[in-house]
Symmetry: C2
Subunit: 455 residues, 2 copies
Amino acid sequence: MTEHCQAALKYARQHKTDFLDGLKQLVAIPSISTNPENKADMLRAAEWVATRLEALGIEKVAVMPTAGHPVVYGEWLGAPGKPTMLVYGHYDVQPPDPLELWQTAPFEPSEVGENLFGRGASDMKGQVMASLSALESVMQTGNLPINVKFLIEGEEEIGSPSLGAWIAENKDLLKSDFCLNPDAGMLGKEYPTITYGLRGLVYFELRVSGPDHDLHSGMAGGVVHNPAQALAELIAAMHNVDGRVTLPGFYDSVRALGAEERAAFARLPETEADYLAMTGVPALWGEPEYIPAERTGARPTLEINGMISGFTGKGQKTVLPAWAMAKISCRLVPDQNPEAVYEQLKRFLTEKAPQTIRWELEKLSGAPASISDLNQPAVKALESALETVWGVRPFFRREGGSIPVVGQMQTILGIESVLTGFGLPDDNLHAPNEKVHLPTWYRGIEALIHFIFNL
Amino acid sequence: MTEHCQAALKYARQHKTDFLDGLKQLVAIPSISTNPENKADMLRAAEWVATRLEALGIEKVAVMPTAGHPVVYGEWLGAPGKPTMLVYGHYDVQPPDPLELWQTAPFEPSEVGENLFGRGASDMKGQVMASLSALESVMQTGNLPINVKFLIEGEEEIGSPSLGAWIAENKDLLKSDFCLNPDAGMLGKEYPTITYGLRGLVYFELRVSGPDHDLHSGMAGGVVHNPAQALAELIAAMHNVDGRVTLPGFYDSVRALGAEERAAFARLPETEADYLAMTGVPALWGEPEYIPAERTGARPTLEINGMISGFTGKGQKTVLPAWAMAKISCRLVPDQNPEAVYEQLKRFLTEKAPQTIRWELEKLSGAPASISDLNQPAVKALESALETVWGVRPFFRREGGSIPVVGQMQTILGIESVLTGFGLPDDNLHAPNEKVHLPTWYRGIEALIHFIFNL
């Protein structure tokens, strides 16, 4: 280990409180990208990140406009001949609802035991701040041994609709050797993890209507196909009894899992009991011929993210509702195409929807799945860094979540992403009581310091 | 026609504006029985009715407590040896939501053309005020030729949960020869109607859960049975392809329609085109072996009144929701029993619900169907009164709606109800833009005057 590396690690250990204060400041900004009311907060979060980059000594820092929320850019290119790392992050978060289930206020970051609670504490303001804290430790104790660029976006939680175009427009600016993307989590706090596959995502809103106004269920019940019932019938038909999706052609382009990959999946530490404990369900569900890690990591799914119709308040109202709506999204695996899945869902609805109702389908976003090259030097550097800090060989896995930018980095910039992160399975991502485990977070900062010196 | 009857009719024609002003005052009170926030408004509406009864010269007027919202009682027994009519009504209304679809404020009664718009204008503040206006016309122009009692309740729109016990406690007070219940509507403005059958109602809330918190659809999608999907699967299984309800034993006690009754249904003026126009649906639905009037009047149904799960706001949230809820109600026909249907739904859920989810079912209210005796003198008196005003023989029909009190009058007080009313099929009951057609309403007042003198 070089002296500079040792000095950087020492700096990190001495500045834990400063790093945590920074994270708290960022988590306190309600940067909910899907909510138009938080537009000013989005800008405030972007500017907070920009100010922090400038304080590190990063150059050409700018909050750059896109068709949607802005991207924060910055660079430091003082190590000619050395590799250039593009650090990816997002400063936006998911909505905090249902608010009543939070034990602390989602935008008032709160330390409870070893955890910091707050929306975005783990996904991914915590990971952005781990990257910045590692770089600060290295830059405050000597010259950064590599070149670095930053792309911190504000639309990840809504499917990054503007990012592809922005990357394409700024292709030269973003030229790099690889991307560090710490938006993927760990399998457990003693299981450092490198993610090499991510599922894609395509998100829909389906609206079923029939009557032109709400009807009295006594007057019209029996002659009108209730839109809530019709929507339920369509949703029920989207899976067969084995949990397979029934959209026509849905599995046609799904890449089969090879024997080697299935063996790697079988070696993962998670058991069925872990999944039961993590979710609280009475029994697991899904395609019986795949183990849980395969079902969440390497198989496509169709989920109902939300559903509403008629009267849902306290008490009773004997209405026959005029319409019903569902939010539906599919997680995609290689080599499924989001646009093709949109066509499959439209075909399913055309074939299955009865003449007694009307339907409308809107595609809100779409991004394909991605698989990264495990033999790139940056992956090897990270593998060694994680092993140094945790004392165990990292696990390689394919994750169920979707990070559209990984595919965009490959297709537009031609670079691979190194996917890691220091969030845990019980961090309550996208749910009430999101938190980050601070001892793991500090280990993550040290691992990123080693990683920088390993490159 | 007696001189008194002629004088009463003249009085009614001269006081149209006064009657309408009274109706507007009552509609302006937001007496939403299901909403705890409107408790004070409920009392205000009851007191308004009581004050109006006192002004008519009705005696022993009282706002009497029940386990829920109070009942307004009053009597005038100055015609010994003559029949006693119990006038039924309810001063409560349905919630006005969805508010954004109203073209006028629901509790600011507004005259537009020949209609008065406002929640309750037709169901049934308009009908209560038609009864009071007819009695006022008769009592202001001479001695009432019959005895009269009033029972104006405040819980009809939530299934009259407290009324049965209250009637049983006040059996002697309520002793009467028959009940006038104007809470049933007309088939069209030129079709005066006497309703002789009503469907019963049993109302449920079904909650399906699985995970103990909202999950990330990328992390858990594929291993967790999505509660929104599971609820949709259960709802979809509650009907077969012919629109028949699949709860075990649901049709076992349904009284078959006789040939005579089916002939009467076939004579009703409504066509399939009328149902299409009234509802706005692209095509009708339901049991193919019955005509629409039979399906809504004489066949039981199961309706989804509301449904909610997960994220339903604008944009997208990739949540796998922890729970899903549906409001479900069944319209019942003779001789179905609400409690038995509750057991059938529980058995259905026990048999069909998979081990991957949990469910809870709550029964919110229940009342059986009823059929009235068409040969009672009060029905003959009303038949003749309606024919005098409209110039056509009234139509006799079984209605799809539910009025629990009709069954309670039969079983507890041993009296029959005469069911009529002056609401029209396009009055938007329980829906936005409820209205009453004023020329029809004035004709209704005159018909009730004739009715009183025919008794």
